[in-house]
Amino acid sequence: MLAIRHVSKRFGGLRALRDVNIEAERSCVTGLIGPNGAGKSTLMNVISGFIGADEGSVTVDEAETIGLPPHRMCASGVVRTFQNLQMFSDMSTVEVVVMGRTRHRRASLAANLLMTPAVRHEERDAFLAAQDLLVRMDVPESFWLRRAGDLPYGFQRRVEIARALATEPAYLLLDEPAAGLNDKESSALGETLRKIADGGIGVVLIEHDIDLVMNVSARVFVMDAGTVIASGTPSEVRSNPDVVAAYLGEEHD
């Protein structure tokens, strides 16, 4: 279980997170919704080690991880994507996914500099694993060797998820993965997320596309102004008056 307990974070006078408590289980999708500025991305930044929290703890399968830098969080089994697409644009698509294998690479720096047979072996294995993931994420083979930045936006989003999955995470945190996708792409994404969760990964889904979240999540947390205002199954959350109030007048994109 990924457990966030009593996490608070201030940006100057702004209390971006106030005593946030959230749990995400393996093998299911946990939704996290809330109006703009609610603190969802900030929470994700705290969990993944990009910013420090003022208070609170984050545990990954019982192990305390708060304060670890991002690359160590990845080693602890937590990987994330970004609200604004972060692509290694000038690499080939397959190489982008190969980057996700970083924490599974065993060869030393020196071995890489000498390009030993072990390194060549590792390279090949990493490329094969990356190709497997691209197949799983339905990225057509014709895209694999193309410059990643030239792929259609929807496919870059998938490549980003493939790259994250290549780390073999225990928990996958997605910050608005459906933003900019059309309805068809969005429902295909829902299907994919379910499959990922079925594979034993705990998926945390931040989304403004409420239908998508309600369709795939086992549990949904609702944040507003830095706090969790509601949580429960999708149907419980849908009928919660606080949630309705928080979203009143909000336009969702």
Partner: protein, 335 residues
């Protein structure tokens, strides 16, 4: 069949950006063969020495190419590492009479250590802040070289070294020293090529393209920056050590900002993402002043115009530009 694309095949068509990666290695190999051909072709000993100097500069340029082109870490203070390599080499050789090759290795190691050391405080800086900080480092080191006369000889009388000997053989003549530098450049290019075609180079590129994404998939960004500073300083220090035995006597004037800028020009001119580009850039920047010698009055003008034209029409460097031009011509012929 989905899984038939071998890594080798992927590598060869991977855009980073533009043309195949392994083309870089092939081009480097061609250049390494061209250098000896050139040295046999020219009879004038002055031209021979210019050729050797261009190879020495190429080693430093390859180092900066890894830093700036791959990791996106600009350094306008590379002359400091060049100077460190030269002075440590000269100092060790003169004081302890150690084998010149060992002295050069030690100079490179010292430069590497200092490069690694300064990378930590610098790793949080971006772009112009990093440019300013490295520029400041370069200036401070220049002032040190010019004033620590007990160690460097300052501007006058400067430093000098004995002939380059290797295991008792005198390799100091330009014909022989050519091969010493050639081997050093070959090794540098080999290692840099290995970096470029494995996970290390990919991680450097990833840090440049998106440091956050790189960190999120497990790349230790600070460590990669430290590594690239260390390797960049190592190669530049090596080049400085070789320069010491090339010039035999030199002073602090060589290690000013001018040289740092020249190195930047070499890398930007040749190619930012290709090791071979650094060699081409180093060659051109080294020989241009010689070529324009006859037109002394117009030298700066022609030099400047050449640079501007290249920047304008081949913004990703000469090598990139020529390759894509060649591609277009070939396609034109076929059609």
């Amino acid at each position: 069949m989905k899984l038939t694309v071998s890594p080798a095949a992927s590598e060869s068509t991977a855009k980073r950006p533009g043309v195949p990666l392994s083309a870089d290695r092939k081009l480097s190999l061609v250049l390494m063969v061209l250098f000896p051909i050139c040295t046999f072709a020219v009879t004038n000993s002055f031209y021979k020495s210019v050729l050797v100097l261009s190879m020495i500069n190429a080693i430093a340029a390859v180092g900066l190419c890894l830093m700036l082109g791959f990791a996106g870490e600009i350094s306008i203070g590379q002359a400091a590492f060049y100077g460190l390599g030269a002075y440590v080499t000269a100092y060790l050789a003169n004081q302890f009479h150690i084998e010149p090759a060992l002295a050069i290795a030690a100079g490179a190691a010292v430069a590497m250590t200092i490069g690694w050391g300064i990378s930590r405080p610098l790793s949080r800086l971006h772009e112009h802040y990093l440019a300013m900080a490295t520029l400041a480092f370069g200036i401070i080191m220049y002032i040190f070289f010019a004033n620590a006369r007990a160690f460097t000889g300052g501007l006058d009388p400067g430093a000098s070294v004995e002939r380059f000997m290797f295991l008792g053989f005198d390799l100091s003549s330009m014909e022989r020293y050519f091969w010493v530098v050639w081997v050093a450049l070959g090794l540098s290019v080999l290692v840099a090529g290995n970096i470029a075609s494995t996970q290390v180079g990919r991680s450097l590129l990833a840090v440049k393209m998106s440091a956050s994404a790189a960190a999120s998939v497990g790349v230790d960004v600070v460590r990669m920056k430290a590594f690239v500073f260390a390797i960049g300083a190592l190669l530049t220090g090596l080049s400085g050590g070789l320069y010491a035995y090339f010039a035999r006597s030199f002073n602090a004037g060589t290690f000013g900002i001018g040289y740092s800028i020249e190195l930047l020009m070499m890398v930007v001119l040749g190619s930012l993402t290709r090791v071979s580009g650094a060699i081409v850039g180093a060659f051109i920047i080294t020989i241009l002043p010689v070529v324009f010698e006859q037109f002394e009055d117009y030298k700066t003008l022609v030099f400047g115009i050449t640079m501007v034209l290249i920047m304008k029409f081949m913004p990703s460097g000469l090598v990139e530009g020529v390759l894509s031009l060649g591609e277009r011509l070939l396609r034109g012929k076929r059609n």
